[in-house]
Symmetry: C2
Subunit: 279 residues, 2 copies
């Protein structure tokens, strides 16, 4: 792994051993913030990569499934991950990763590592990539509009939103609960399996398209890397169907430039209707 | 909680305290087996209920989100859960629950408890219940057919499958990746929020409808209880869209008899095409 790109620098970690637990320490920079809080996708990429680095035995180098529970917001500064290997099986390796700051739990992640090549790549069923204009006919999401000034994360991304699903940005959410976009790293860092846990949570919240306000806090997340992506633009769609009270679910799917599904996820997140109060 | 029903007896637990960890021990009976292995939904109900019983502070009595990582198959016999409270917040309480047998990890579950009444019940968006024949015009799933003889779990359920989505049972999977049914407990135990983690994994695997064979092992699961159900028949739909190599995702939604979405989930599970080998 190179540390010459923004994303790889963000994942760099120093290791210590404590019996059955490996402890990695690192610095969370101010480069991946959304309104003062470190992006959850970056934290999940840190946790899954830590699991691969330390526990990826028997060639189990892909996070074929992981779930994260977000306990409190991570801030820039020193942080550590504590890894416990819970099971080393033939097909899968199970690792529990706690991410803490000052002893306080930020998120806990259960990572299941496997080998995509061993699992096979026969496609029995898969959704085709959504029809959308090419990147140069989409809207580049940057920090020029007032609502995204505090989203430093956008500087790390080249994110192009399908205009048909971006009317929320001008105060006209479609209410369909759907958003589509093209994504890659702003510094052209290659797209690989290890970056998919980050990309799955990199788009603006789908809540915006149903009239929600604020970058909704993730409560729980289940992600899965399904194929090693070809480098190039990623195509992503996020949807929600059940928005009730203060919670919604957000489903994400990512296709690589060959049109293959490479990752998908569901998250449960907070929801606040514009003008309404958080529960 | 009454212990007069099959489900409540299955959840009965004895508690001990060990500093910050609460340890509950119990017996897994032979009543909830699928081919010799204890049903994953029952294990998730045990873990979420244990979290509610021991850590449901501040009225946080609903598992608004939980994720489980399945490390190894649970068998009938003695088992224990180890609970760690990771965060007691204003809106949510975070609990980690390990379920072990003979010191070996079976599953690890991260439970986020909250209060549904505090989160509110305004419906901004929700999928309507699927159109399907009433229960008495559906197929009762029981153990009379050879393929389900080992599914003891079916004795605990009154499960009626929509015939349009049950052709896999006669060797003609629709390949649409969809199954619908009505569910309740066989002994008429009332349906409540605490039983939804069980029901979310109680239907036959959606893999059957895309030509898969065997009760596919769950790798990881994310569930969410979205409303306290009214007692009566539950209506459930499960779907899959990405079946690649040895894995698929299965999404489940449950509506109560009032037509309200009360729970939904996604799981990542193993997949084996009929006649094919497991990876």
């Amino acid at each position: 792994m190179t540390t010459e790109t923004e994303f790889d620098r963000a994942l760099a970690m120093r290791w210590e051993e404590h019996a059955a637990v490996a402890v990695g320490s690192f610095e969370l920079s101010e480069d991946w913030l959304i309104g003062g809080v470190v992006n959850g996708g970056l934290l999940m990429a840190l946790c899954t990569q830590a699991a691969v680095e330390r526990c990826g035995v028997a060639g189990h180098v892909h996070p074929v499934a992981w779930s994260s529970q977000f306990a409190s917001a991570a801030r820039p500064g020193r942080a550590e991950v504590r890894l416990t290997l819970t099971r080393a099986g033939r097909s899968f390796t199970s690792v529990s990763v706690d991410l803490l700051q000052g002893g306080e739990e930020r998120l806990r992640t259960l990572v299941t590592l496997g080998r995509l090549d061993e699992l096979g790549d026969t496609v029995y069923a898969a959704p085709p990539p959504p029809l959308m204009p090419p990147p140069d006919q989409c809207l580049r999401a940057d920090r020029s509009v007032p609502s995204s000034r505090e989203v430093v994360l956008l500087d790390r991304l080249d994110l192009r939103l399908d205009p048909a699903t971006a009317m929320w940005a001008v105060g006209q959410p479609s209410k369909a609960g759907r958003m589509r976009g093209w994504l890659r790293f702003a510094d052209n860092r290659p797209v690989d399996a290890g970056s998919l846990p980050f990309f799955l949570d990199a788009m603006p919240p789908v809540a915006f398209d149903v009239g929600g306000q604020g970058w909704a806090p993730t409560v729980a997340f289940l992600g899965s890397v399904r194929a090693e992506p070809q480098d190039g633009w990623l195509q992503m769609e996020i949807t929600t169907s059940t928005v009730v009270g203060g919670l919604l679910e957000e489903d994400a799917t990512i296709w690589d430039r060959s049109g293959r599904v490479v990752a998908h996820s569901r998250q449960i997140a907070g929801f606040r209707m514009s003008g309404g109060a958080l529960p």
